[in-house]
């Protein structure tokens, strides 16, 4: 007789109180009219284009019951081929940003912003346009296609100058150099996948340079052992090792600003002309330059990229021109550099034009998703100018606006965007608008020429249209401007403002995922910081986490210090993207805005340069602890991230003999994963996809300070290993993504008292949330430390709770959680296969991290099926298990990185 019957039989009078169940039953709202496409409970998928940055990757948005929950790359889109970077994954948080405008607002006489309704808003807008009589300025984000045509038509109708498309990374130097060498100021298309050897003089093409997902994908095709037997050779020449230089085969720490000498030297060697004067300034031995030039000549076609935003010094133009001439001399133009296929960024206004526009103080300024005052704090904006902002969230510039007519988020609106001619993409709304916002097209009242129906249909289905473009021969080469570099004054350091993959130009600062997922290189979360070499820090007497005041001729900024060997001793690196004062709950108070340090005016060559400033360092005596999520960078002899040693191939680490040879009775599947360390570039896209898919909680900086982030797959970074230590000239950096290893002999399972952790019949290490009482012994005993604990009850500020994935349980306070190999995706595919009576093919199931990894480093599959990719990779001689000698039999196989040549 079951216990409950026993209770029923002996229940005392207390049972009378069981009237209405005290838990309020939920409500079910049916549809008004049946809709054949909408199956409640099943997700729908809409194609769109990501507008998080000008790269314009294709999106497939998963919508659960009318609310988008996850975005993934569109496999058919030529730019990103199904992949997305960290920023792309956080675009869902842009839609559900808790700090979005709910309705139009206007500035009252007292200077306060107060809410108004749309008719009032439109009336004030019309009156402002009328009084402006043509002195109208449009400063908006880069737009192409319909909206671009509408804006230009509207401006010409009001006798106003054409719009200025403001992007802080506007590649002014690149366009000016192309105007000099090829006659047209364009941003070209780079084809990394055709290059046999690659040199970058500062372009961080794996992080923010033009189209980082496309380049990451192409870079992996030419550089990873998994995709090519003869990997290409990549040399990075920059004063600081960023995420891009971390994947380089060779790294020259050239003195900031002397890159142009190296480019000219390479050009001289390739075209055997005399070397330029002053080569000793760049502190790079000549034999290295000869060898690099020889390697460039042998492996054709090659590709040489110019300086990026981080080393956009006064000599950047000379360097870029030398790079263009080098590409010409090596015959790369037309092969890997396509100067006559302009990227959409060509339409962007240069920084100088924007600065000059703000000086003219137009009577009416229209801001469309642009935040120039954050990047140029010194710009004048005030009294005579009536500012109308179409931004969807408050930012530094909109804070000074007089009228705010909030635009839809790009996931709620129609539109189209073509990063380049042969890859236009169409945006379509994935939900009814969250708030009382209106698309800017409607506010302007323009009627653009519509797409034809079948174009629209094809575009909506595929999300992309393809059109062939002819390549044109280059114009006559021009002379390089003579420029010289002043020696660094004593006590001053070159400022290197480096952008990062998660914050871009500061646009994604109010995304909790972008802030919580640690910076790929420094592993610091939730804070802006400055970076100094250990010698410099010791010489100046600074300790890590001390707050240092950087004083430049134009302003000061106080930032906590992070000490790392990946920057030249005479430089100080500052992370850009943080330092917002009025941008939202997660973005504010993350350190000072470093753009105050930069030179607000353009230099003599008419271009605004980001890294044209040297700063003095002063200690402030204050201390601000940084949330460093990985303090230890040396893996010692722990055989974590291994490289193929050039000596004899080491035997694969096989588990030691064991008394307990208990063989799991796997019948149909044993899920496993293979992670190729040679492909992994450490961009953390997998972490963002995992946060989006599995409802992972965020608790902010104070929790990150004590290591309480909840990431299910952490990417660790190591410098070399016991065999070959990482030196400053050749930093051998290795990224190691660690999901749950789903071990067969899982140390976490036999210590759990309530069977919350146990082994499923399909090889997964199960974590049953409702059975867990929170002893946390499983996390202690896990040698990979992949198990995380819910310290508090997770909060999702309204409306972020609409982003929660209905297929995954939202965990409560006091419960352990860990990577589940996206078990909700596994069971859904298994169910569909079972109901349709068809076998499951390898690749049917893609975990969230595998799906978005730009370099295909992660492969998921069934280890029992010998034909599956993961089974083949598991048997690869490069394959090894993490801590395999501890007899945990992990289901994740890591593939060794190739030995570092250089």
């Amino acid at each position: 007789m079951l216990r409950r019957d026993f209770i029923k039989a002996s229940t005392l009078a207390a049972a009378g109180a069981a009237s209405e169940a005290c838990r309020q039953p939920q409500q079910i709202l049916p549809l008004l009219a049946p809709d054949p496409r909408l199956i409640p409970g099943r997700p729908q998928f809409f194609a769109s284009v990501c507008r998080e940055c000008p790269a314009g990757c294709g999106l497939v948005v998963k919508v659960n019951d009318g609310r988008p929950t996850k975005v993934e790359g569109n496999p058919d889109h030529p730019v990103n081929q199904g992949k997305l970077c960290l920023r792309g994954q956080t675009s869902v948080q842009g839609l559900y940003n808790p700090d979005r405008f709910r309705q139009p607002m206007t500035r009252t006489a007292r200077g306060q912003l107060e809410a108004i309704d749309w008719p009032q808003g439109m009336a004030r807008f019309q009156s402002a346009v009328a009084t402006a009589q043509g002195s109208i300025a449009w400063v908006g984000r880069l737009e192409t296609g319909t909206l671009d045509r509408a804006i230009r038509a509207w401006l010409t109708r009001h006798q106003a100058p054409p719009p200025l498309y403001y992007e802080h990374f506007s590649y002014d130097t690149l366009r000016r150099s192309f105007q000099i060498t090829y006659g047209a100021p364009i941003v070209p298309i780079f084809r990394l996948d055709r290059a046999r050897s690659l040199i970058s003089f500062g372009a961080d093409f794996l992080e923010t340079y033009i189209s980082n997902v496309e380049y990451a994908h192409q870079f992996s095709d030419i550089h990873s052992l998994a995709h090519t037997p003869t990997p290409a050779y990549f040399l990075a020449v920059m004063p600081r090792v960023g995420l891009t230089a971390a994947s380089a085969d060779e790294y020259w720490p050239a003195r900031a600003g002397t890159e142009y000498l190296l480019a000219q030297a390479l050009l001289a060697v390739v075209t055997n002309r005399p070397l330029p004067a002053g080569m000793e300034q760049c502190e790079i031995p000549m034999d290295l330059i000869e060898r690099a030039a020889q390697r460039l000549a042998e492996n054709r076609p090659s590709l040489v990229l110019g300086p990026g935003y981080g080393n956009d010094s006064p000599t950047a133009l000379a360097c870029q021109i030398a790079v263009n001439q080098l590409n010409d001399a090596l015959g790369n133009t037309g092969q890997t550099v396509l100067p006559d296929v302009p990227h959409a960024l060509t339409q962007c206004a240069t920084q100088a034009e924007v600065i000059e526009l703000f000086e003219q103080r137009p009577r009416l300024l229209l801001l469309h998703h642009a935040n120039p005052l954050y990047h140029h704090p010194a710009l004048p904006l005030g009294a005579p100018t009536f500012t109308v902002s179409f931004a969807s969230t408050m930012d530094e510039t909109t804070q000074r606006a007089d009228l705010i007519l909030p635009d839809h988020d790009f996931l709620e609106s129609w539109g189209d965007y073509a990063p380049r001619a042969d890859a236009p993409g169409i945006l379509q709304p994935t939900r009814i608008p969250l708030y009382d916002t209106r698309p800017t097209l409607e506010v302007l009242g323009e009627k653009p020429a519509a797409y034809s129906d079948q174009e629209l249909q094809r575009g909506l289905a595929a999300g992309v249209q393809s059109a062939a473009v002819a390549h044109r021969a280059p114009a006559t080469p021009a002379v390089a401007p003579n420029v010289s570099l002043a020696p660094l004054p004593a006590g001053e350091y070159t400022l290197i403002p480096f952008p990062t993959v998660q914050l871009f130009d500061g646009r994604q600062a109010n995304r909790s995922w972008a802030q919580e997922i640690a910076d790929p290189m420094s592993k610091i979360a939730w804070d802006g910081y400055c970076e100094l070499h250990p010698e410099t820090a010791k010489r100046l007497g600074y300790e890590p986490n001390d707050v240092v005041r950087l004083r430049s001729p134009f302003g000061t900024a106080e930032l906590p210090l992070f000490v790392s060997t990946w920057i030249r001793p005479d430089c100080v690196g500052v992370l850009i993207g943080q330092g917002h004062s009025n941008y939202g709950m997660w973005a504010n108070e993350r350190g000072d805005n470093i753009h105050r340090l930069q030179n607000p005016a353009p230099l003599a060559d008419g271009l605004w340069h980001a890294a044209s400033v040297t700063v003095k360092l002063e200690s402030t005596g204050k201390n601000r602890p940084l949330a460093n999520l990985q303090t230890e960078r040396l893996q010692r002899d722990k055989r974590l991230a291994l490289a193929l040693s050039s000596k004899e191939p080491e035997p694969p680490t096989t588990p030691a003999a064991s008394f307990y040879h208990f063989h799991h009775p796997y019948v149909n599947h044993r899920w496993g994963m293979a992670i190729d360390l040679d492909s992994c570039i450490g961009c953390n896209a997998c972490q963002a996809a995992c946060y989006a898919e599995n409802n992972i909680a965020i608790w902010g900086r104070s929790s990150a300070l004590s290591h309480r982030e909840m990431t299910w797959i952490r990417v660790e970074i190591f410098e070399g290993d016991q065999g070959h230590p990482s030196t400053e000239l050749n930093p051998d950096l290795r990224f190691l993504p660690i999901p749950c290893q789903q071990c067969d002999n899982a140390p976490c399972e036999y210590v759990c008292p309530t069977f919350a952790a146990y082994h499923t019949d399909e090889g997964l290490n199960g974590q049953v949330y409702n059975r867990c009482v929170g002893t946390r012994y499983c996390s202690n005993n896990c040698i990979y430390k992949v198990r995380r604990f819910n310290w508090y009850t997770p909060q999702w500020p309204e409306p972020l709770n609409q982003q929660l994935n209905p297929d995954v349980t939202v965990r409560a306070k006091g419960v352990m959680e860990k990577c589940t190999f996206c078990v909700q995706r596994i069971t859904q595919v298994e169910l569909d296969a079972a109901t349709n009576q068809r076998p499951m093919r390898d690749g049917d199931i893609q975990t969230a991290c595998e799906q978005t990894c730009p370099t295909n480093a992660i492969v998921f599959g069934d280890l029992l099926d010998p034909a599956s990719r993961v089974a083949r990779l598991a048997a690869d001689n490069r394959g090894y298990g993490l801590f395999a000698d501890e007899n945990t039999y992990p289901a994740v196989t890591y593939l060794k990185k190739k030995a570092r040549r250089g």
């Binding site: 079951l2 409950r4 209770i7 229940t11 005392l12 009078a13 207390a14 049972a15 109180a17 069981a18 009237s19 209405e20 169940a21 005290c22 838990r23 039953p25 939920q26 409500q27 079910i28 709202l29 049916p30 549809l31 008004l32 009219a33 049946p34 199956i39 409640p40 409970g41 099943r42 069977f755 146990y758 499923t760 019949d761 399909e762 997964l764 199960g766 974590q767 049953v768 949330y769 409702n770 059975r771 297929d807 995954v808 349980t809 939202v810 589940t820 078990v823 909700q824 596994i826 069971t827 169910l831 079972a834 109901t835």
Partner: protein, 165 residues
């Protein structure tokens, strides 16, 4: 001895309420927006799948749209007061706020699709809805009910893979 027994009874009752009785929804048959009677419709030969048509293809069994009700009730007894309520909902284009009777906690991933595919009858879990005027939960949605059936039909009883993920 009198007060002692009372205290013991109270304590025992509190324990029962806290851990067992409070979520026994046996008696609850919430008053719905429209007092729809399953019995009348079932007797006229309307099968479950006619209104709840998403059961074989989704986690959620699906609710009939307002228009589907109107399909018949535009003609069948339109003047009946409950049907008048239906017309009011349709004219004001507001969905009918049905109160949920059968629910499982958030940590249980119940999916109708495999159950319908395995040929489980609706009455097995939802009780004889066909004979109910006001829907009332007869079978307790507790783990014991599910596990007994899963073991009998040797369906998948893997805690993490099947239900709790």
């Amino acid at each position: 001895m009198r007060p002692l027994a009372l205290i013991v009874a109270l304590l025992f009752g509190a324990f029962l309420w806290l851990y067992y009785l409070q979520d026994l929804p046996f008696r609850n048959a919430p008053q719905q927006a429209i007092s729809f009677s399953h019995q009348i419709h079932y007797e006229r030969g309307i099968q479950c799948a006619y209104c709840h048509m998403d059961a074989p293809r989704s986690t959620f069994a699906g609710m009939p749209s307002v228009l589907k009700c109107l399909g018949c009730h535009r003609i069948v007894i339109p003047q009946y007061p409950e049907i008048q309520k239906l017309h009011v909902y349709w004219n004001t284009q507001t969905p009918i706020p049905w109160k949920r009777v059968f629910w499982v906690p958030d940590y249980v991933r119940f999916n109708h699709q495999p159950h319908i595919a395995a040929g489980v009858q609706c009455q097995t879990c939802h009780g004889s809805i066909g004979s109910m005027d006001r829907v009332r939960q007869r079978v307790a949605f507790r783990m014991e009910t599910c596990i007994t059936c899963h073991r009998a039909m040797n369906a998948r009883t893997d805690c993490f893979g099947a239900c709790h993920h």
